[in-house]
């Protein structure tokens, strides 16, 4: 690896001051060091965020949960604040890489890398989460579904740091689910899908609100508005779920390459969306 300067600030302010254009923030390092080994990242200073205590916390906040950007995938997968509530997020955190990876990879790193296949991105989008970004002038919130601009590109500005993710309180009669399909390559999702469903207070078969997010089938993780519209206000049955799957499949923008054909990826969107909706629905009804 090319030599670099190393800084380990103890506070967020200190870190923000160090994040010059020549510097790169270090979270878990699982992706960064590979990029540095392969000379895909040219930075002369690495700012290690792991010594900033508040960035690693997972805590209850405003009825929901505030997850520090440096929270480990393993902590996320095991957190009792998340498990049982935000099932889609728990499931996704538990499938990122191997246990060795989950012991070092962070939520912030998974998001800030802006991989279209990032496993935690779609659950957070489905759960309506926001990213908290900080720079020297203050903090702002960016909905996770507006965080990604393209492969490797986020809405974070120069000098701005992803500090936390805020997941809103889970409403009553709501549930979420995460599905993914892995083919060929080791741990990279061919397609992933997260669904969030909130049921009507009067009719437990009717969907009051739905959010469906798809991963690895476009330049960024994406919401599928047509599938959500199809579900919202509908009484859930095979036909509606089938239609939502169709809508999701037509919103997907999968690539066609030697690993899989676009039509197969699109079909997997349909299948996984259907499965995720049913799972989320059953959880919302307290059946699973």
């Amino acid at each position: 690896m090319r030599p670099f300067h190393y800084r380990a600030p103890r506070s967020l302010d200190e870190a923000l001051a160090l994040l010059t254009p020549q510097a790169v923030p270090l979270a878990g390092g699982t992706d960064l060091f590979l990029k540095m080994e392969r000379r895909q990242t040219q930075a002369d200073t690495v700012v290690d965020l792991k010594r900033i205590p508040e960035l690693g916390r997972i805590e209850a906040a405003d009825g929901g949960v505030r997850i520090g950007a440096l929270a480990l995938m393993d902590s996320l997968g095991a957190s009792s604040l998340i498990a049982g509530q935000y099932e889609a997020l728990t499931r996704s955190a538990r499938v990122v890489g191997s246990i060795q990876t989950r012991n070092r990879a962070t939520l912030g790193g998974n998001l800030a890398n802006a991989s279209p296949a990032a496993d935690t991105a779609t659950p957070l989008m489905a759960l309506g989460a926001s990213a908290e970004a900080a720079d020297a002038t203050g903090t702002r919130q960016v909905p996770v579904d507006q965080l990604f601009l393209g492969p490797g590109r986020t809405a974070l500005r120069d000098g701005e740091l992803l500090t936390a993710v805020l997941v809103p309180a889970l409403p009553a009669r709501a549930g979420s689910a995460f599905q993914r399909c892995v083919r060929t390559a080791m741990d990279i999702a061919l397609v992933n899908c997260a669904a969030f469903v909130r049921l009507d207070g009067d009719d437990p078969d009717t969907v009051a609100e739905a959010r469906i997010a798809l991963g690895a089938v476009g330049p960024t993780p994406l919401r599928t508005a047509s599938a959500e519209n199809c579900l919202t206000g509908a009484r859930l049955d095979e036909r509606v779920v089938e239609e939502a799957g169709e809508c999701a499949a037509s919103d997907a923008q999968p690539i066609d390459d030697v690993r899989a054909g676009a039509d197969y990826r699109r079909e997997m969107v349909r299948v996984l969306t259907r499965r995720a909706i049913w799972k989320a629905f059953r959880r919302a009804r307290g059946e699973a």
Binding site: T30, F33, I99, V258
Partner: protein, 914 residues
């Protein structure tokens, strides 16, 4: 840049150090602290071999920075157990044989330790989840799961299982579970140079010029090697066709072809210098597939290959048929009867084509060589399967007498054919010769996949059957994608062509096989040597025919399988196994004929190969010193298969001692008696007989001496507990040795086993035995995604007599899992001339979570082998039936026949949509 001062706890002791910010933890441990138990393999945080515990949690040292341990507690394999006792987890892995080559073992044990610290009573599911980031390419994981269960029992302290006696364990176990530096990869020392190779970025290109000046002046660089430095040596090597240059001469023939090499004081300097070498290329059209290479208008990838290159004994020269094509390096044919007549007489003739893709070997220890050139010769430490063949070839290439060329082989961190014959060794020697220093030639795993592969093959079978379900005629056409250089490709082709008809009684048959040059990674040996490719074809087609004709696939096979004692080919060793017995057993175990759940199917397959190699020569020497100590010198390389243990057991059996009383000497061509190599499941049979003879020669001397000392020339003698017993009198070995040889004397016994050449045998010599594998799979297919889940697998092998049953099972389980990977997902993929799957991030290797829910492994022990006590070789057998058994089961489950591996969900989905 500035060093960072760190303080941390290492294996319970407080340590301080100054480390560069960019220093990786793996390098810090291995290089700076000399703790070589942390093995590095994939270097991309996938394989888990470098797992260490940071504050008790498993992390990969290959992608963790050294200074990240600051203020934390780090446990490496050296921190488990102590000088007197192993940690219970290490103990359990040794007892249960939860390892083979051992390269992944330290990481595996640490991951298991972390699991058990958190969860003292893990379920099988917990174990699979905790170890899913630790790849083992050898064992097939079942013995690892058993080891973790045993470790859990030991740690809980209740229901403590009785310890397995040391004599029933592998002899290399203690060293491997401790992570001792027993591999070539561990032979790094201060003061040596590091070598790295510059590889072609083009699939096919002419080299117009190489400028090394900037690299030469880079700090730390000692030598930059180009083809200009090799003018005085025999530059081409190869086990069969000498078409492989040490460095590319006028052109490069695949992405990854070696163009230049650097030796430098540090690995970093060598790596940096590679980027400073300027090579000017003129790209040429690349022939990436066999179809492109066989096109009549295709240009030759090799303009000329010397016709008079020395060929392997019994290996036919390139014939006229091969010469018809620009890119065929070898052609093989066999036949009997008249195929056309047979087809004319058939009720139906079926024609199908089956494809098998290129596969990466991915042994956990990459290809490596360390070389030291001296004025009077050289020494090479190599991770190889062929110490003497490599020595002889190197001596010839460099013009050095054989006795001055020395090859030392430490334990090998896995090989499945990829380390056979000469690979990197000439380059390491040439680099050391130019640098004048010892050079450690380092390859990354990503480069490893560019050295050799399992060849892709296309097998077309035309098969005629009569109305009674008898095979009448079969015409086999096999094309083997040998890649850019021959390596063992022609031999794979010969074996594939020979074995392609399958173990069936077929009156009329013809088989043609071709090795085709393409601009892809060279292809050579891989477990089974061309047999998995052809079994895939013939066992798939047997089911297709049965289904089309409305016959039961098991019945159809039973009607046609060769009987025990029947001839596979004229002049060949008669079939020494009952194929029907195995097939029926596999069918019974899988539940053949039982009603199945929806979308489930079962399939059977069996495959066999002439085992043990054709021209193997093995020799062994047993020495007994005047204290009765026994040393066994034999050249089988311990690649994980357990040969040290098996050979020691054979010698021990003959001498009436415990296996642990036999010391197996390290392997050095200066002192080890000649052996042809470690390949073709040959060791137990061929070397086993040599060891047996050597031990018997010692035994005979001991008995004779005892009789003479006891003045009872005809007394019955027994050997036990280090004594020869004649009736009532016991003579300790030590006394016998001293009596004959005096104080300090040594009794020596030699044994030699040769597969004699036989002009009447189809391949020039009769096979020592038949290696057979039967398999049966039960699968479930998800109709929505096409995903195949193997619910149950039954694997049966013919051990003859298992010298080490635990290890025989592990060999077969490991072979099965490689077969499963190749059936369902493994594939080396190219696009636009470039390999898309060079590393563990992009090439999918079987993980512990890929195991079927249920697995049954059976060993037949009928004493029918040619080796000691009726033993015969196995280990390749287990891979043979896997892909076809799974494909046959998929067909039964959802009516989809996949003829090109791997059987991906997408292919099934497409077929279902039709």
């Amino acid at each position: 840049m500035n060093e960072i001062e760190i303080q941390f706890e290492l294996n319970g002791e407080t340590r301080g150090a100054g480390v560069a910010p960019e220093l990786l933890l793996a390098d810090f441990l291995r290089r700076d602290l000399g703790l070589k138990g942390t093995k590095t393999s994939c270097e991309v945080e996938v394989c888990g071999s470098c797992t260490v515990l940071l504050d008790g949690r498993p992390v990969s040292a290959c992608t963790t920075l050294a200074h990240e341990v600051n203020g934390r507690s780090l446990t490496t394999i050296e921190g488990l157990g102590n000088d007197d006792a192993l940690d219970p987890v290490q103990e359990a892995f040794w007892e249960e044989g939860g390892f083979e080559c051992g390269f992944c073992t330290p990481g595996m044990i640490l991951a298991a330790r972390a699991l058990l610290d958190e969860n003292p009573d893990p379920s099988e599911e917990d174990i699979k989840a905790a170890l899913d980031g630790n790849i083992c390419r050898c064992t097939g994981y079942l013995s690892i799961i058993r080891s973790v269960n045993r470790a859990a029992a030991l740690l809980r302290g209740r229901e403590t299982p009785a310890p397995r006696p040391l004599d029933e364990r592998r002899l290399d176990g203690a060293a491997k579970v401790r992570g001792e530096p027993v591999y070539t990869a561990d032979l790094t020392h201060p003061g040596m140079l590091y070598g790295r190779v510059l590889r072609s970025p083009h699939a096919h290109a002419r080299i117009l010029g190489i400028d090394t000046s900037a690299a030469e002046s880079h700090p730390g660089v000692v030598a930059v090697l180009t083809v200009a430095d090799l003018a005085d040596i025999a530059h081409y090597h190869g086990p069969l066709v000498k078409d492989t240059p040490v460095l590319a001469t006028d052109k490069v023939r695949y992405e990854g072809d070696a163009v230049a090499a650097v030796a430098a004081e540090t690995l970093e300097a060598a790596t940096a210098a590679l980027t400073l070498i300027r090579v000017e290329y003129e790209p040429l059209p690349a022939l990436m597939t066999m179809d492109e290479a066989l096109d009549p208008d295709a240009p030759p990838i090799h303009e000329s290959v010397s016709d008079d290159a020395p060929s392997f004994p019994g290996y036919p020269r390139v014939d006229d048929e091969a010469k018809k094509y620009a890119n065929v390096s070898f052609h093989y044919e066999r036949g009997k009867g008249d195929v056309d007549e047979g087809f004319a007489a058939s009720e139906r003739v079926f024609e199908h084509t089956f494809d098998f893709p290129k596969i990466a070997h991915y042994s956990m220890e990459p290809q490596l060589a360390v070389a030291e050139w001296r004025e009077d010769g050289f020494t090479v430490w190599a991770s190889t399967q062929h110490q003497f063949i490599v020595r002889n070839e190197l001596a010839e290439m460099f013009g050095v007498p054989r006795e001055s060329a020395r090859v030392v082989v430490p334990l090998v961190g896995g090989t499945y054919g990829n380390k056979n014959h000469t690979k990197l060794e000439p380059l390491a020697v040439a680099l050391s010769r130019k640098a004048g220093r010892r050079v450690f030639l380092h390859l990354s795993l990503e480069e490893e996949s560019r050295i050799v592969s399992k060849p892709a093959a296309r097998v077309r079978l035309r098969t005629g059957v009569d109305r009674d379900g008898k095979l009448v005629a079969r015409d086999c056409l096999v094309h083997v994608d040998g890649g850019a250089y021959s390596d063992s490709g022609p031999r794979v082709t010969q074996k594939a062509g020979y074995r392609a008809p399958g173990p069936y009684r077929i009156p009329h048959l013809r088989s043609h096989a071709y090795t085709v040059y393409t601009n892809t990674v060279p292809a050579g040996a891989f477990r089974g040597m061309g047999t998995p490719q052809v079994v895939w074809a013939y066992e798939s087609q047997m089911d297709i025919i049965a289904r089309e004709m409305g016959w039961d696939p098991v019945e159809f096979r039973l009607k046609n399988l060769l009987d025990k004692g029947e001839e596979f080919a004229p002049g060949e060793t008669l079939l020494d196994t009952d194929l029907k017995e195995g097939l029926l057993r596999a069918a019974r175990e899988i539940g053949w004929g039982q009603e199945l759940e929806p979308d489930c199917g079962i399939g059977v397959a069996c495959g066999c190969k002439d085992g043990g190699g054709n021209f193997k020569i093995s020799s062994a020497r047993v020495e007994m010193d005047d204290a009765g100590g026994i040393t066994l010198h034999e050249g089988t390389i311990e690649i994980g298969q357990g040969s040290h243990t098996a050979m020691a057991r054979i010698a021990a059996q003959e001498l009436g001692v415990r296996p642990t009383a036999v010391h197996v000497a390290s392997l050095d061509t200066d002192s080890t008696p000649f052996d042809m190599g470690t390949y073709a499941s040959s060791a137990t049979t061929v070397m086993g007989l040599a060891v047996q003879k050597a031990a018997r020669a010692v035994r005979d001397q001991l008995v004779e001496t005892a009789r003479s000392m006891g003045k009872s020339p005809d007394a019955a003698a027994t050997l036990a507990n280090g004594e020869v017993r004649l009736a009532e009198i016991a003579f300790p070995f030590s006394a016998l040795v001293r009596h004959v040889k005096g104080a300090g004397g040594v009794i020596t016994g030699e044994g030699r086993q040769v597969s004699e050449r036989d002009p009447d045998a189809p391949l020039g010599a009769k096979a020592p035995f038949w290696e057979v594998g039967w398999g049966a799979a039960k699968v479930h297919v998800d109709r929505d995604t096409g995903d195949v889940r193997v619910l149950k697998y039954v694997g049966i092998a013919d051990a003859g007599k298992a010298i080490n049953p635990q290890q025989c099972h592990t060999q077969e389980q490991g072979a099965f899992l490689q077969g499963l990977g190749q059936a369902l997902f493994e594939e080396t993929v190219y696009e636009n001339g470039l390999m898309l799957t060079p590393d563990a991030l992009t090439y999918r290797l079987p993980k512990i979570s890929d195991l079927p829910d249920e697995q049954v492994n059976i060993l037949f022990e009928n004493g029918n082998g040619a080796g000691p006590y009726g033993a015969k070789g196995l280990g390749e057998s287990g891979i043979l039936p896997v892909p076809s058994a799974i494909a046959n089961a998929v067909d039964q489950a959802v009516g989809v026949r996949i003829t090109d591996l791997p059987i991906t969900g997408e292919k099934i989905w497409r077929a279902l949509r039709k």
